[in-house]
């Protein structure tokens, strides 16, 4: 038996991330055990819900390592919880794969810490690349004040200059706000704004999108990968969401992937299984957990051992591994292993995701 | 009309009524006198149902009251004017009186209210003011008036004369005597034992949770022990 631990935010303000992650991990463990486990050993998953509270996450990390004696940890749905877990896992030399966005988690590189999601920065870069192509030079931003939104807002403002774009209006909303017409009106009335970018997750972006339509703003609207799932279209309404662009992963366009796409098999398999099991549509975040688990099991298989040190070494040598998010190539300098190509710029047309090219 | 047998009651583990026996006949005024802490208030609270009974029985008009919640007793005709007045401080004087007649919706409510105002004219003056702003004595009058609004057939009065000016004390005792004429039965707890015994038919003396003496009011007034211990004469 190989003991693996996980601490995700299955409830609380980040449940939007943690819930699909928890479900994904449980499902994958079940699948792998049905197929005889890894190297003939079953996997025992201990999964805790840290509710998005970094303090709890640290306690659970301690518990996983000291009490449950796991050989590796997946989790940390948010940056805060990930940072809390990693300081424990590094101390105890247990490999940890984070599911959170911030670049600080793996930069500077820490020996036992890895992560699967692209960084916020990459999402920003992808979006700005697209804007550049459309000759957009002045934008307005409206960001959620939750960790996800705030972090991406900062990263975007950090790299925006590299694309010759200026942020002329910079507004925020709280994750529980009910109406964003005020902020959007301000952005609309700002001189020269050619497009609007909305980093955020949860219901905020849906409301922004609806208010956008209510105010009949006819500038391009960009959302973040935080809302990359079918649920977003449903909530915002296909009509309001028409034309919205965002950087997404292969998961959302599984049926549009070419037969030769290396990600196709893994994306298809995950999507079918998840949607069948939970009755809800797949999203980016569940995909992160899927990839973390994939990287971990792949590493254990290759290492032929369930020793933490061996697993760590094997993870670091992951190469060409196709996940739902992208193709992972880890190295001693890069504990993420994704590049920009993992993101695809998507646009909602007629209530469906389409690839912009 | 009201019969109490072997009544016991306790606060927590401390028993303060150790088996009280008393009865009040229809149309009678009966008074209970006793020192501070004797248990008079506790007795009345047991009767009105706001204090749990741990033993004995209370029979009112031939029916046991045990287990009947406090709020259903006024409907049976048993009404209390409690110690410490317990008025609705945030409501107006008039609202207090109307709530006194909470169980009735007929026209008599208005008439009763007029009667109450006639009895205590100051209440009419203050009818639209919050009762909490009344002076102590005015509140006491309100408590009495509110109890009368409930059209009791048996009225439990806990120190109705407390804090009242002598002239009003007189009036209160007159009112209580007048109730007798209307056929209302009264159980009166008073520190003004002299005044109470003067208008009462019978009296009980209570000491540390027990009835130690009882008899016709006139006899009690004359009893030297009572005169010394309670009347201070």
């Amino acid at each position: 038996e190989i003991r693996i631990g996980a601490s995700v935010s299955a409830t609380g303000p980040a449940a939007f991330l943690g819930d699909p992650e928890a479900k994904t991990l449980e499902m994958l463990v079940e699948q792998i055990n049905e197929n005889g486990g890894i190297n003939g050993e079953e996997i025992a998953l201990t999964l805790y819900d840290d509710g998005g509270d970094p303090n709890k996450a640290r306690t659970f990390a301690t518990r996983l390592i000291e009490d449950d004696e796991v050989v590796a940890i997946i989790g940390g749905s948010t940056t805060g919880t990930s940072m809390s877990i990693l300081s424990v896992s590094e101390d105890n030399e247990i490999p940890f794969i984070s599911l959170a966005g911030a670049i600080e988690i793996i930069d500077p590189v820490k020996p036992f810490t890895f992560k699967t999601p692209h960084t916020d920065r990459m999402a920003c870069q992808k979006i700005f690349e697209d804007m550049q192509k459309r000759q957009i030079t002045t934008i307005g931003m409206i960001s959620g004040t939750d960790g996800f939104g705030a972090s991406m807002q900062a990263q975007c403002k950090d790299v925006v200059g590299e694309y010759g774009i200026t942020v002329a209006a910079d507004e925020t909303y709280n994750p529980t706000d009910a109406d964003m017409t005020t902020q959007l009106t301000k952005i609309r009335n700002t001189e020269g704004v050619q497009a609007v970018l909305n980093p955020g997750f949860g219901q905020g972006p849906s409301i922004v999108t609806r208010n956008y339509r209510q105010l009949a703003i006819d500038l391009p609207l960009y959302q973040s990968h935080g809302v990359a799932s079918d649920g977003f279209i449903e909530l915002a309404g296909a009509e309001a969401a028409e034309g919205v662009r965002l950087p997404g992963t292969a998961l959302l366009i599984a049926d549009q992937l070419g037969a030769d796409d290396p990600q196709k098999p893994v994306v298809d398999a995950y999507k079918t299984a998840f949607e069948e099991k939970t009755g809800t549509s797949v999203g980016t975040f569940g995909g992160y957990a899927h990839d973390a688990f994939l990287i971990l099991t792949d590493a254990i298989t290759r290492a032929g051992s369930a020793e933490p040190q061996a697993i760590r070494d094997a993870i670091e040598s992951t190469s060409g591994l196709a996940g739902t998010t992208g193709i992972y190539n880890m190295s001693a300098e890069d504990h993420l292993g994704l590049d920009l190509s993992a993101f695809r710029m998507l646009e909602i047309k007629g209530g469906e995701w389409t690839v912009v090219e | 009309m009201l019969t109490v047998e072997g009544l016991r009651s306790r606060y927590g583990r401390i028993e303060v009524l150790h088996g009280i026996d008393l009865h009040v006949d229809s149309g009678e005024i009966v008074t209970v006198v006793g020192a501070n802490g004797a248990g008079k208030t506790t007795l009345l609270k047991c009767l009105s149902g706001t204090q749990p009974v741990s033993g004995g029985t209370i029979t009112f008009r031939g029916e046991g009251l045990t287990g009947l919640p406090a709020h259903r007793r006024p409907a049976r005709g048993l009404t209390q004017s409690p110690e410490g007045r317990q008025i609705f401080t945030n409501l107006t004087v008039e609202e207090n009186l109307r709530l006194g007649a909470y169980l009735f919706t007929d026209d008599r409510v208005e008439k009763d209210m007029e009667d109450a105002f006639a009895m205590f004219p100051i209440l009419r003056e203050k009818r639209n003011l919050a009762a909490g702003g009344l002076s102590g004595g005015q509140q006491q009058m309100l408590a009495m008036a509110r109890a009368l609004m409930g059209r009791p057939s048996c009225l439990l009065l806990d120190e109705p004369s407390m804090g009242l000016a002598p002239i009003i004390v007189q009036q209160i005792f007159d009112v209580v005597s007048g109730l007798k004429a209307l056929g209302v039965t009264v159980l009166l707890v008073e520190q003004n034992a002299f005044g109470a015994l003067k208008i009462a038919d019978r009296g009980y003396v209570m000491e540390t949770g027990r009835i130690t003496m009882s008899g016709a009011a006139a006899d009690l007034i004359a009893d030297p022990r009572i005169r010394e211990a309670y009347l201070g004469i």
Partner: protein, 263 residues
């Protein structure tokens, strides 16, 4: 003779009602000055203004030569004023003893840090207060109830506890609002003696009470209020014979009773 307390033209209104209007009188040390009057005459309100619970609308309160009009109660307490309440104000969840000790606050208070660290100075202050409090409880007959939770006492007992707490301040002037309410004739007499004794020890006493026997027996001086105004003032004998007072307040019965006690 200089008065300890003098009230000069004091007045206050509540939404148009002149609850107290232009009332003046003085209170001497060692004397018991009673304020009587019908219900709602403004006696308690007068107390509330003198003791700083209400801000007077007009007039002055002078205590020991100092103008203390509208001064906060805790500052008045430091200047030797203490009072009881008509509507009991007991520290319900504290023990009877602790209630009495609270009366010693001014003597026992000290730097909060000393209290936090339980320094000897803090312990000394507390111990002194406790000894005093026990004595006082004995004086009002509550020593046996010292360790009980105050909220569990009967009404009459609470009245006496309030008096004990007020005495704990070793006041120069003591305001008593109906101290005998809820006590029978015999108990009233005990309170009587207590008050007289306190007055004799040099304290000025201002008393509100409806028990005319008591008032007439122990007062040196009586002020009569009606509808917020002073309608009479004088010694017990003259006041109890005053027809205006009898009409407004005493009624015939009590009037004779009072005169009887007086005679």
């Amino acid at each position: 003779m200089t008065a300890l307390l003098s009230v000069e033209g004091l007045g206050i209104s509540f939404g148009g009602l002149k609850a107290v209007n232009d009332v003046s009188f003085t209170v001497q040390p060692r004397e018991i000055t009673s304020v009587i009057g019908p219900n709602g005459a403004g006696k308690t309100t007068l107390f509330n203004m003198i003791s700083g619970v209400y801000q007077p609308g007009s007039g002055r309160v002078v205590l020991g030569g100092e103008d203390v009009t509208g001064m906060a109660p805790h500052l008045l307490a430091r200047r030797g004023m203490s009072r009881t309440f008509q509507n009991l104000q007991i520290f319900q969840s504290m023990t009877v003893l602790e209630n009495a000790i609270a009366g010693y606050h001014l003597q026992e208070r000290g730097p909060v840090l000393a209290d936090l660290f339980n320094l000897p100075s803090s312990r000394r202050r507390a111990a002194a207060a406790q000894a005093g409090a026990r004595e006082l409880l004995a004086r009002v007959g509550l020593d046996r109830a010292a360790e009980r939770e105050a909220g569990n006492l009967s009404y009459g007992a609470l009245k006496r506890l309030e008096i004990a707490r007020a005495l704990a301040l070793s006041p120069k002037i003591l305001l008593l609002d109906e101290p005998a309410a809820g006590c029978n004739a015999v108990e009233t007499e005990e309170i009587d003696h207590l008050i007289a004794e306190v007055a004799k020890s040099g304290v000025a006493i201002l008393l509100v009470e409806h028990d005319m026997k008591m008032v007439m027996r122990i007062s040196n001086h009586i002020v009569v209020l009606d509808h917020g105004e002073k309608i009479a003032e004088g010694d017990p004998a003259s006041v109890s014979r005053n027809p205006a007072v009898i009409a407004a307040y005493l009624g015939t019965d009590a009037g004779t009773e009072a005169a009887h006690a007086d005679g």
